[in-house]
Every structure is written in structure tokens, then in C-alpha cells.
């Protein structure tokens, strides 16, 4: 539905978007994820029409949208600051876009009421934006941007101003609404949990470039680069030289004298190539004895324990000085924890637990 074709955007010397090509499909919940300044907001503003690309083309439903001004695009945006009109009531805010279309009064009434119901704001219709809470304002902003039934809804850090509990609830509301209305949603966020929760596909961006576009599960389990692996969630990165040991299996020589690590990888590597093994802490098992059947096992000392409530992350220092993180679910009460500081433990993981990345 949306196509970015070799889009570049420069502000003076600064390149915000660098030769970017990406497709977004109809009825998709698409997330642009990246650190601040990576160009994700610029992309969204180009879709809304507030910026135009320096080079390249953007197509919406097959049509080049560069010459279409923002007020004529079938695209609506939910602003980070919500941008609610303070001089209008909640009802009038939602009706604002419909009135501009010249929709007849009874239809406007029906549509606004529908939006109020959808966002559960019926009781607040007559209030001004400064008379309602942050969460309610956020729902007004959503209702207002959905009222015109846009083909594409852009959400710029929509939940940034909400506290954690409210944010989580709202994420599920957003998904519900997206499903009910069948609108294509593009969300910009720097919060990876938010992107993973709501989106059907995530684009990880850095320095104006898209690093990877995939489903949340693939982004997490099969990152295509060290940057993506490191940006999403917690990861252990072990650098070393690769030698092939069989069909799709490799040995990673990571320290002189240390036992090479065994990894299965669908992608091939040349002999002696430098690569990183990326392995998530929860894929690393911690045990007192060396497990007999483990493909990879290293011994170390518990340096630190981060207790997160449901999980604990153990920072284990190896004799080589490297630190490996292992995560376990706290299925028992904390007083009955098996390992504590300075304990000697074994860390083990399977050959398929981690992923081998060339860069």
C-alpha cells in the first residue's frame, strides 16, 4: 500500500533519511523503531505531508504523494503532543476534520458518537482538553485522527506520555481498534516493548537507514545484524573466528585456549571469518554441575544478580574476564535461590540457541 522508493531526506548537511526503500502493506500494524534521531519521525512526517523527500518517491496506493498537500491526503496523524485544540470541546475536536469535509450534520453527529463509543469517551464529550486526564486526552487524539476513516493512520510516539500500566492497557486497545477499523497503522516509537507488542511488523532504523524489517519474533530471534540484536532486548555478543565443522555447523574460536563454541547457522561463513555469536540471556542455562549433553558449556563465577521479580539475570564472569548474562525464571521464592554471589556455576546453551552474525 505504501512504498518508499530510494527516499533520501536532507536538512542542510544532515541526512535524516538515507536512500531508504520499504513497503508497508494494507491493514498492517507497522512499527518504526529506533533511537531518537534515527529518522523515524521524519519518515512519518513525509507520509503526513509536512516534509517532502529530497530524492526518491513515496507511493500511497500506487499514487505518488509528493505533490499532494497534507490537507488532501487520506492520511491522518496522531501527534506526540496530541495537539488537541484547547479552545474546542472533546466533541468538537473529534468533529473538526469531518466539518472540513463538509459532511452533513446528522452524519457528523453519528460519526462522532461512534468514535466516542469506540474510545469510551461518551461521558467527556462536552469537556475541554485541559479538563480531562492524560490517558483520556490520548484517546481523544486517537478518536480525532480516526474520525475521517483514513486509509492510513500515523501514530507518533502515541503512548510516550502515559505511565506504564496505562500504556500497556492502551497498547491492547490500539490493537483492538486497529482490528475493528481495518485501518493501516504506522507507529513511531523508541520503546521496543511497545513496538513488539502492537506491531505485526517492525522496522528497526538507525542513522536514516532501515536495518531490518520483520515480524517481532523474527527481529528478536533472528536479527540480521549485531546492531539489531543489540538494540532489541538483552544479548550476549561473543566475537571470534569461524571454521566450518560440517553441513551448516560451525566452530567459533573466541579465545585462545578456550574450547570453541558450536553453532548451527543457515547462512554460510568463509573459513577464518570474524563473526559474532548473539545469544539471549534466557537461552543460557545456569547449573551447578556441567550438564552432560550440552553443546556449549563454560564455567564462571557469579558476579552480579539483577532481580527483576519474575526473572533474575545472573552476570557470570568467566576466567577469561568475559561476562555472560544468563536469565532464569523465578519459579521459587527468592530465599530458596540456588546460586548466590561468588558461586562457581556452569553456563550452557545448545548449538541452535544463539545466532551467528557476520556484522
Amino acid at each position: 500500500m505504501i512504498q518508499f522508493q530510494n527516499v533520501t531526506k536532507r536538512f542542510g548537511d544532515f541526512t535524516a533519511i538515507d536512500n531508504l526503500t520499504i513497503d508497508i502493506f494494507e491493514r498492517e500494524f507497522f512499527a518504526l523503531l529506533g533511537p531518537s534521531g534515527c529518522g523515524k519521525t521524519t519518515m512519518m512526517r513525509m507520509l503526513a505531508g509536512f516534509e517532502s523527500p529530497t530524492e526518491g518517491k513515496i507511493f500511497l496506493a500506487g499514487q505518488d504523494i509528493a505533490p499532494v498537500p497534507p490537507n488532501q491526503r487520506a492520511v491522518n496523524m496522531m501527534f506526540q503532543s496530541y495537539a488537541l485544540f484547547p479552545h474546542l470541546s472533546v466533541w468538537e475536536n473529534i468533529a473538526f476534520g469531518l466539518k472540513r469535509e463538509g459532511m452533513p450534520k446528522p452524519e457528523i453527529n453519528a460519526r462522532v458518537d461512534e468514535m466516542l463509543r469506540l474510545t469510551r469517551l461518551e461521558k467527556f464529550a462536552r469537556r475541554r482538553p485541559h479538563q480531562i486526564s492524560g490517558g483520556q486526552r490520548q484517546r481523544v487524539a486517537l478518536a480525532r485522527s480516526l474520525a475521517k476513516a483514513p486509509k492510513l493512520l500515523l501514530l507518533d510516539e502515541p503512548l510516550g506520555a502515559l505511565d506504564r500500566k496505562l500504556r500497556e492497557e492502551t497498547q491492547f486497545e490500539l490493537m483492538d481498534i486497529q482490528e475493528k477499523t481495518g485501518t493501516t497503522f504506522v507507529i513511531v516509537t523508541h520503546d521496543q516493548e511497545e513496538a513488539m507488542t502492537v506491531a505485526s511488523r517492525v522496522a528497526v532504523m538507525d542513522n536514516g537507514q532501515v536495518m531490518q524489517v520483520a515480524t517481532p519474533a523474527d527481529i528478536y530471534e533472528a536479527p540480521n545484524s549485531v546492531y539489531v540484536a543489540d538494540f532489541i532486548g538483552d544479548v550476549n555478543l561473543i566475537e571470534g573466528k569461524v571454521t566450518a565443522t560440517g553441513e551448516g555447523t560451525f566452530a567459533l574460536h573466541w579465545r585462545d585456549g578456550a574450547e570453541p563454541l558450536r553453532v548451527k547457522s543457515p547462512t554460510g561463513f568463509s573459513e577464518g571469518q570474524t563473526a559474532h555469536l548473539a545469544i539471549r540471556p534466557e537461552k543460557v542455562t545456569i547449573s551447578a554441575e556441567r550438564p552432560a549433553d550440552a553443546a556449549n558449556a563454560v564455567q564462571g563465577k557469579v558476579l552480579d544478580i539483577a532481580y527483576l521479580g519474575n526473572l533474575s539475570t545472573y552476570h557470570v564472569e568467566l576466567p577469561t574476564g568475559d561476562i555472560i548474562k544468563a536469565q532464569t525464571a523465578n519459579t521459587r521464592r527468592i530465599s530458596r535461590r540456588d546460586y548466590t554471589w561468588e558461586d562457581t556455576v556452569w553456563l550452557s546453551w545448545t548449538a541452535t540457541g544463539g545466532i551467528l552474525l557476520a556484522n
Binding site: 497534507p70 490537507n71 496523524m77 501527534f79 506526540q80 495537539a83 485544540f85 475521517k148
Partner: protein, 313 residues
């Protein structure tokens, strides 16, 4: 009731009294200030307006005399001068003319001031202090000198006419000085900063994303301005209009320096009653009526300011 509870109550009462005293002092200082600098002079003027003119020093009668007592003193006062104001059509014509000139120049100042304030608020961040400075700069020289400067610009041999003659736009000098047009120019020029500053403050507070949101929802540039920017700067517009209208209504210097004999303004009438006629009682009556006329816009102005403050919270 136990002894302990009594002690607690007593402490509570003492705390309350202390708090009340503190509040009273806080409020008393500005009130005493207002009393001394506004109410007392006003009562004096009001008293003079109820007296009769006399060839004496001071030129009115009666004077307060302790020996005769307050009752006899009050018995001498009457509303004669106010009745005179109604009977002579010079006065209400002057009030009406002042009202018309003040209203017209307020609208003109708004038309000139709004685009300037808008431009300032849209200017790059680093330019704004400079622009603000330029608006305030005229206050650094005397108001009187600046009005005299306009005489030099507008007179028949002035810069404006010389320029117009030189460029061939007119064949003989335009008579601008000593007309009501010159008064409008003077008032708009003098009170422009009072219009610009509150509007600028309102526009500066506005979130730019509101305009983008309006465009996103289908507004053209112009309708976004009309439906969002203008309503959101309404408070500033109202404040600016009152700040221009209220002093313009009683303006004296500008009409007497730039205006002609046909420019009738109440400030000028007041001055003539005081200094040419030496009829202090009638002049005071003119001043009291002017104040009563201005009470309405002043109250409205206050209410607007209060509403603005509330909506910001």
C-alpha cells in the same frame, strides 16, 4: 471534652489567627497603595466636580471648614456641573468623537499589530529577542519627542510630502498634519507595542503542532489560521484592544499636537476647561464621567485577563 483536646483546639485557633494576620498584611499593603494613589485623588476630584467655580485660589467653592462642620459643607455640594455637561452639546459630542476615534484607532492598531506579532512568533528562535527589542525600543525616548517627530514627518514641508513630491505621486503637498488622519497615525504609532506584545505572547505560547494537526485534518493554510490561530490568540487580541482603547479614549497629547481644530476629543476639552477656562469643577465633572465610561471596558479587560489565567491552569 478532655483537657488535651482543648489544648489542641487552642493551638489550632492560635495558628489560624496567625495565618489570618499574615494574609491580612499581604493584602493590606497593595490596598493601602491603591487607596492612597487612586481612591483619595479620585474622591478629591469628585468633590471638586460637585463644587462651584469661584474666582479664588483654589478656584472653587466651598472649601472644607472645621468650624462649620461636615453637614454644612455637604449641603453646599450639588450636581450642577453634571447637569451642565448634559445641557451643552460640546461635551457629549466630544465624548462621542473620542469614542469613535478610540474605536477606529484600536481597529487600525489591531490590523497593523497582528501581522507584526504573527511574524515575530513565526520568526526563528534566535531572532525573536531582537524583534522584541525593536518593538520596545521606542519607549526609550520620550513619548512627547516622538509625537513631535511625527509633526516633522507629516507637515506640508515634512519628509513624507517631500518624498511624495519628489517621486511625482502628488503635485502639491497633502494636508495631513492638523487633521484627524494625523491623530489616527499618532495613536496607532504610539500604542502599537501595547497591541503587539499581548498578541505575541498568546501566539508564542501556541503549539506549532496544532496548525499541523489542523492541516492534517483537512484545513487549508488559511482556514487553519482562521479556525485555530485566531481563536487561540483571542485572549491576546482582547487584551491588546483594551490596552489601546482605554488610554486612547482620554488621549490629549496626540490630538493637541497632531490634530486640527476639528478634531474633537474629550482629553482636549478637559485640558481647556482646566487651564484656559480655569473652571476646575466642570473639568473635574468631565474627568469623572470619562472615568465612569471607561469603567466598563476596564472591568471587561480584567475579566478577560482572569479567564485567560484560568484556562492556562
Amino acid at each position: 471534652m478532655g483537657r488535651h483536646r482543648l489544648a489542641v483546639l487552642d493551638r489550632h485557633r492560635r495558628h489560624l489567627v496567625g495565618e489570618l494576620m499574615r494574609r491580612f498584611l499581604l493584602i493590606a499593603i497593595p490596598y493601602i497603595w491603591l487607596l492612597a494613589l487612586f481612591l483619595v485623588p479620585f474622591v478629591i476630584v469628585l468633590k471638586i466636580s460637585l463644587s462651584d467655580a469661584a474666582i479664588a485660589r483654589p478656584p472653587y467653592f466651598p472649601q472644607f471648614d472645621w468650624a462649620e462642620g461636615i453637614r454644612a459643607f455637604i449641603a453646599e455640594l450639588d450636581f450642577e456641573n453634571f447637569i451642565w455637561l448634559v445641557e451643552d452639546d460640546l461635551y457629549w459630542k466630544a465624548y462621542l468623537s473620542s469614542l469613535r476615534i478610540a474605536l477606529t484607532s484600536t481597529v487600525l492598531t489591531l490590523i497593523v499589530g497582528y501581522p507584526i506579532a504573527y511574524g515575530m512568533a513565526r520568526a526563528p528562535e534566535e531572532w525573536r529577542p531582537t524583534l522584541m527589542m525593536l518593538v520596545i525600543l521606542p519607549f526609550w525616548t520620550s513619548f512627547l519627542i516622538r509625537v513631535y517627530a511625527w509633526k516633522g514627518i507629516l507637515s506640508n514641508e515634512g519628509f513624507l510630502n517631500q518624498f511624495l513630491l519628489w517621486s511625482g505621486l502628488v503635485s502639491e503637498p497633502l494636508q495631513i498634519l492638523n487633521t484627524t488622519t494625523a491623530v489616527y497615525i499618532g495613536i496607532v504609532y504610539t500604542y502599537l507595542p501595547f497591541m503587539i506584545l499581548p498578541i505575541y505572547a498568546a501566539l508564542d505560547r501556541m503549539d506549532d503542532s496544532l496548525i499541523e494537526a489542523a492541516e492534517d485534518l483537512g484545513c487549508s493554510r488559511f482556514s487553519a489560521f482562521w479556525l485555530v490561530t485566531v481563536p487561540l490568540s483571542k485572549g491576546g487580541i482582547i487584551a491588546g484592544c483594551f490596552l489601546v482603547f482605554i488610554p486612547a479614549m482620554g488621549e490629549f497629547v496626540i490630538p493637541s499636537l497632531l490634530g486640527g481644530s476639528d478634531t474633537l476629543m474629550i482629553g482636549k476639552v478637559l485640558w481647556e476647561e482646566f487651564f484656559s477656562n480655569r473652571d476646575w469643577p466642570v473639568a473635574s465633572a468631565v474627568a469623572v464621567v470619562l472615568l465612569l465610561i471607561l469603567v466598563v471596558p476596564i472591568v471587561l479587560f480584567q475579566r478577560n485577563q482572569q479567564k485567560e489565567q484560568e484556562s492556562e491552569q
